[in-house]
Point group: C2
Chain length 374, copies 2
């Protein structure tokens, strides 16, 4: 039985290693492992989410309601849009991206992504026969190489992925940069194609300035949000998209109907209403980021990238280590950091860390100094 | 922005109505509503699943492990196959079906489904450009119309959906029926095409005789299972597929990586190990089914279909009601039953009920007698 050609050409996904494996291989205790690899909220979920889950526990033998209007209203309120601008995903933002592909991608369509950026866009879009057309992120200035994006746009372009703050570089894309891209991908404004500009705001709470306001001017924008970061619900897989009612309606036609679990639904609802938890998570996240940045910035052998997110990229060309080697050194010390070698558009001398609690941050800084003799 | 043609032609999915809506419209208490519409396990989840969830609660800010080997091993043990025969879905069996489509369907491929059967196959496959080729279920004898399936198979056939026990008719397809279908869809056995025969065993525990043994003889079989029925976890969205390692490996290349929530994972693991809970659920389910069948079989104005599942189909041609009208009568009395009008291959005079607790069964039978003057 042969798979489709687009699938045959894809390599199996190699998952990250589990805490269990690392604990076993390096002889560290599982409960002592510090996770700096996945950009999660290290302070745990909202207590109100946990309460809501406990109250719903006895109903998990029942299907989720397919009607998630209440949650849509809350996301709309939080994002300052209308419920008809919202679509909710039950496998986090990943399901939203997959539904975007399924709704709009014909075999041979091109998508543009400036490298380095989040690699999962490609993993999701290639099976639909979409072809990547890479643009560039300028690592020297840590800004989008706008010309490379504009040059990549052509009549085959169907989707663009612009992550702001960008993963893994941490910097923002400005609205002055978004505008010419939005114009060139909109035929009614003289553009060369009709394409959807996906703005991934997974980390937007740690920065200032969402791009939701651009929805009033452009109908070819699609904003991605997630509850896996500041909202502390990575394990529950909740994401949402914000776009024009036309695009949202098309996507609803084919979106999985029951993909949001019953417990994810109540956890999401409780968390998005818990303003205090959200504000506190942002505040502590930014504190942790500033602490880590300042400490790493003092080190002579590395260069740390200024971040507007809950993670930061570190250039280790001058340390004598590759990222794979350095990652291994951290694992020996019970710390999981992100080797960025698998990101396209970046060489094997970068790694990424996430914010942690201040106590964990300090342990990490000590370990880093120890490894690098700083 | 235009969607793909296959998407434009699909009507928006019309979700079932929520308990809240029904409670409001018909003035019944939400907590008194009896659900006979969704083929769930009415006795609730395994207590061990609830314990496992409670223990994992504080970790839901962390991503799920992408490595679900332990759960694969348990499903393999339970199903009497090897872990490499198993793929796990994080949106129940729906995700498995979607991944099957994404892996194998090229625009214009045909899929065969005998009507009436589960309508979601079509909902999932049409967006990939697959074309339905309908075969027949014989409602008189409540058996598969084997010839209609064999006649439908041609060189464009890529997938067949055979639900056993069949939803909504409740009867089984025998291995004497599966074999000629498996032969005709396998070129190496002189068939006219290479197609995958999907055997949907969502309800297999309520019958006897899985078709897993056929995997040893045929490499073009794909068996679907779910934890939404006897396993009592419909709200947690867990399903799995059983097939040849070759098919499973292709699917793993593109399957969503984190779609199973952290709580779904621990609940699944605890439940599949809870043999006592599973056996008890089957036993009580069959008791409820036999009670309902016998009581309804006494009524003169309806015909009830013998079922090997946890639901049964009821023919109401002689009652003077359409299924929509009858469903409304039940709603007034706080009971949700399944109007089968939206199933293709069946007219507007059938409805389906699920097993409930004996107490609920009795209330339902009383209501049915009351409505039909039996």
């Amino acid at each position: 039985m042969k798979a489709r050609k687009a699938v045959e050409e894809i390599d199996p996904y190699v998952p990250g290693r589990s805490k269990e494996e690392i604990a076993q291989e390096f002889g560290v205790k599982k409960e002592d492992i510090i996770k700096l690899g996945s950009n999660e909220n290290p302070w745990g979920p909202s207590p109100k989410a946990l309460e809501a889950i406990k109250e719903e526990l006895n109903n998990i033998n029942r299907y989720p309601e397919s009607d998630v209007e209440l949650l849509k209203k809350e996301f709309a309120r939080y994002s300052n849009v209308k419920p008809e601008n919202i679509i909710i995903g039950g496998d986090g933002a990943d399901e939203i991206l997959d539904t975007l592909a399924k709704t709009f991608i014909e075999k041979g369509d091109e998508f543009i992504v400036p490298l380095p950026s989040y690699m999962y866009y490609e993993f999701l879009f290639k099976p639909y026969g979409a072809i990547p057309n890479y643009a560039k992120w300028n690592l020297e200035t840590n800004t989008l190489d706008l010309d490379s994006v504009l040059d990549a746009i052509n009549e085959k372009t169907k989707m663009l992925f612009l992550c702001s703050p960008n993963n893994p570089t941490g910097a923002l894309i400005t609205q002055d940069e978004f505008r010419p891209i939005l114009e060139k991908t909109n035929k009614s404004r003289g553009g060369v194609c009709d394409a959807i500009v996906v703005i991934d705001e997974a980390y937007v709470e740690y920065a200032e300035g969402t791009n939701v306001n651009l929805l009033e001017e452009y109908d070819n924008i699609f904003i991605i949000r997630t509850m896996s970061k500041v909202m502390g619900l990575a394990g529950m897989r909740i994401g949402y998209g914000i776009s024009s009612p036309e695009i949202i309606e098309y996507m609803h036609r084919i979106k999985p109907v029951f993909s949001l679990t019953k417990l994810s639904y109540v956890a999401a609802l409780a968390t998005i209403r818990d303003t205090e938890y959200i504000e506190e998570s942002i505040k502590k996240g930014i504190e942790s980021r500033e602490y880590l940045y300042n400490e790493i910035n003092k080190m002579k052998s590395v260069k740390v990238f200024k971040s507007y997110s809950n993670f930061m990229l570190i250039d280790i060309h001058n340390t004598g280590y590759t990222a794979a080697e350095l990652t291994r050194e951290f694992m020996k010390r019970g710390m999981i950091v992100r080797d960025c070698t698998s990101f396209k558009g970046i060489d094997e001398y970068y790694f990424r860390i996430s914010i942690c609690t201040l106590e964990e941050d300090k342990k990490f800084i000590e370990a880093m100094k120890d490894i690098l003799n700083e």
